[in-house]
Subunit: 494 residues, 2 copies
């Protein structure tokens, strides 16, 4: 492993290759034999579980309840909302039969032609249609509103070019679907959930994001507005990390979801939907990690502290065990996720390399001489700095260090982001500079034509109209030269 780690491609050599290798070597995920699908390995899944727990708690604090809706959607549902079908009916897995039978002409099994479905079923690419078809029976009066459900589930979109976590045919996500009595309330909910995502990214993932609203072209199929958080990867590319959609009454109308309002009039319900997925794992990796492997923010890390004894012989091990198990126990009581690794089937050097690769924030090491001296070695993963300290009181020191690392990681990412946001009004300059990555704040005339032109010329897209950026004195669109209607973030993206 120590040798393999040494072979991790450097980011400066080939960022894409570095990413692919890291995902596999840090035991996060691997390609499945099934085209475009992935296996999320135990260590990767432990990180995803912590993302889930943290988000789930935040959702529930805003009044959201979890539920579960069917995996399969009748084909006809997709057609009920005109824009939605355009966006999602294209590349999806279609179930046409419900039985196999022994192959009459040889080995194995074949599809039984007699078991053909009357109407084909689609594996959900997203669940607006089936959920709003259900909401029809749940919503009758303003008293039934707001209705705020979320589900954690798998979804499938048939992707031609896939990359682990970033784009896979099957992925895991959560999708929230809310119904409201008024437009204002629905819009406020859509924005609220974007803030939940941004706060979570900041506080748990230590990822700074740009919040904003998508252009019409980049909107979710069926939405009136799509709010987004855009993170910047270490190569300057954008990664859309979470979206929240204000759906207006589109799905209320498509699925005939009406309610009687306080004035006793019938109205269509207003909708939002919002989701984040296992893509966040990609954002996490490409925001913090380095040439030695993963760097995990302490608030997220499944293992925050690993403790390794270095010993000669059983007697020394016994003595080290006694001291280090006490440290482990005290850290655990303080609520810190700690692993004491005294396994004898791997050498210390191997363990060090492996925990570095896996991004464990703090490593404590004690040898025989440390034991005599009452000292312990502390290594922090973010800077790889080592120091020797008194073991007495080390637990409180480690607790403080974890918070320091959390902040340091965030600050580093935030500094990188701030230093790579450029104001740019000139298209020639843009075309030249965008190759090196970064977010470009550019005046835009609001037309799909210039948007398409930028994409065709540079592969960059309008990521969003950002919050908190001045929309005055815009000048002219950098492509068309026509008066700009807003200033947008343009960037290449994953």
């Amino acid at each position: 492993m120590a040798k393999e780690l040494k072979n991790l491609t450097k980011r400066s050599e080939d960022y894409s290759k570095w990413y692919n290798e890291l995902v596999v070597k840090a035991d996060l995920a691997e390609q499945a034999d099934v085209r475009g699908c992935m296996v999320i390995k135990p260590y990767g899944y432990a990180i995803w579980e912590r993302i889930q727990q943290s988000l789930d708690q935040r959702f529930k604090e805003t009044g959201v309840q979890n539920a579960y809706f069917p995996l399969l959607i009748p084909k006809s549902y997709l057609s009920k909302e005109a824009d939605h079908v355009e966006g999602f009916a294209k590349e999806c897995a279609v179930v046409t039969h419900y039985r196999l039978k022994a192959n009459p002409d040889g080995d194995g099994v074949v599809v039984d032609p007699a078991a053909k479905l009357e109407e084909e079923l689609i594996i959900r690419p997203t669940s607006e249609t089936i959920i709003w078809n259900t909401y029809k029976n749940w919503i009758h009066s303003w008293r039934d509103l707001p209705l705020c459900c979320n589900q954690w589930c798998n979804v499938m979109r048939w992707e031609m070019r896939t990359r682990l976590f970033l784009r896979t045919s099957e992925f895991l996500w959560q999708e929230g679907h809310t119904a409201h009595a008024t437009r204002e309330e629905a819009e406020a909910r859509a924005k609220q959930m974007l803030d939940v995502y941004a706060d979570f990214a900041r506080e748990v993932l230590a990822i700074p994001v740009v919040r904003g609203v998508k252009s019409e072209t980049e909107r979710f199929a069926g939405a009136l507005d799509t709010y987004t958080i855009e993170a910047m990867m270490q190569d300057g590319k954008a990664l859309q990390s979470g979206t929240s959609h204000f759906l207006g009454q589109n799905f209320g109308k498509a699925f005939d979801v009406k309610f009687v309002n306080k004035e006793n009039h019938e109205e269509y319900a207003w909708a939002t939907s919002w989701g984040v997925s296992t893509r966040l794992m990609g954002a996490l990796i490409m925001t913090h990690s380095d040439d030695n492997g993963l760097v995990l923010p302490p608030h997220l890390a499944p293992i925050q502290v690993v403790i390794v004894p270095i010993y000669k012989g059983d007697m020394e091990l016994d003595a080290l065990n006694a001291r280090l198990e006490a440290v482990t126990e005290k850290l655990r009581k303080m609520g810190i996720r700690v692993k004491y690794d005294n396994a004898d089937n791997k050498r210390p050097g191997f363990k060090f390399a492996d925990y570095e690769l896996k991004g464990v924030p703090v490593r404590l090491v004690m040898g025989g001489r440390d034991l005599e001296n009452g000292t312990i070695e502390v290594m922090r993963r973010d800077t790889l700095e080592k120091e020797t300290r008194q073991v007495e009181g080390i637990e409180e020191y480690v607790a403080g260090l974890l918070e320091e690392i959390q902040e340091n990681i965030y600050t580093k990412a935030k500094t990188y982001l701030d230093e790579h946001i450029y104001e740019c009004n000139d298209y020639e300059e843009f075309k030249e500079r965008v190759k090196d990555g970064g977010f470009f704040l550019c005046p835009w005339d609001g037309t799909a034509e210039t948007e398409a032109q930028i994409k065709a010329d540079t592969q960059a897209t309008i990521r969003c109209v950002p919050y908190g950026v001045s929309q005055e004195n815009l000048g002219n669109d950098m492509v068309s030269g026509k008066p700009a209607t807003c200033r947008v973030v343009v960037a290449r993206s994953y």
Copy 2:
């Protein structure tokens, strides 16, 4: 709702109808528009989440890690283990295409014939095949063993006759898959997980179960042994509530999973798998509930205590709020899941009926006179008994009461089970009595023929060879008259 509740069919009238109505009226689940699939509603899902959390913790304490494997399985994988294909390749959802396109002859979308898959994919009915195909790359040496993964996911088996929670085409479950270096270790793990299930059923669900091993006929397809926990529903029928399989080297051989043992020889890995599903929701309902609705064991209930004020006017409400919010807060600090319901859009009578229907274990009610007297009304859901107590110290009383209810519910179910287990050696007597339900301990000659005969004559099946039942002085098989090889539990089942 109070009126609807009154309309809940009595168990004595029609047990099956009572069940179906209760599932819907208590907001647990409902039929989806998609054939055989269900929507798990927020309250039902909250119960399932608590089942998940509790089991997940127990699994992890035994060294199991969660992971995630693909939803879709190449058709050919199913054929690799001979028995397995017989059991699972029959009724399953088959994905044959990966794209829809606009209907050239009219509205909507149709399957694009150009997007036909080379090899059809099956929605997992269970994941032994795809997981062992993955384990092939993870297991090389005895150092890689044991490997113990679990996944929480959806699976699909195309069922013709479905019932909410008990038998649905799509259902949620967990499936654990372990690989071991020795037969002994694998067998021990299979038995260990059965014990985890039985302890969980006892301690959390308050469901007493019979543990045992399945007959060859009833075994999991591909297993050498299937261990089972069988619960008894209120109508005396059995409900298989969890199974754990010792798979021998069947999947190791089928997917070529070999490891180098300590003696430097290559061997095939030994396997187990084990699972429980949303079926447990059915077991829960049919073990404890009554004609007034759901009865939930306090250790499981998402809401353990509900507090309702009865008031005239805002001033009285303010005073009640002050007192009851203090009670709520104290209960919460004691770790009790409590809901304070002072919503003014529903009347107390409606709330009472609704919380009864939903099985909330303890209800506290306070009115204006109670406030003056320093009293509060306590209602326990299991017996529906009410008493008025001093509000001072009510929190400690409630904490004790919750434990008392948990034990009482279990004891009631255990008494029922014990009273409905009969020793029976005579087939005529059996045929007559089995109609009324119950578990029959009968001598069996060990042949599939007598097993089939019993099923044909009575619809009853051999549930298991139970643990802890004397296997001496067996006498003769009650059907064939031949010498019995063991004493088995025979019962009708869900």
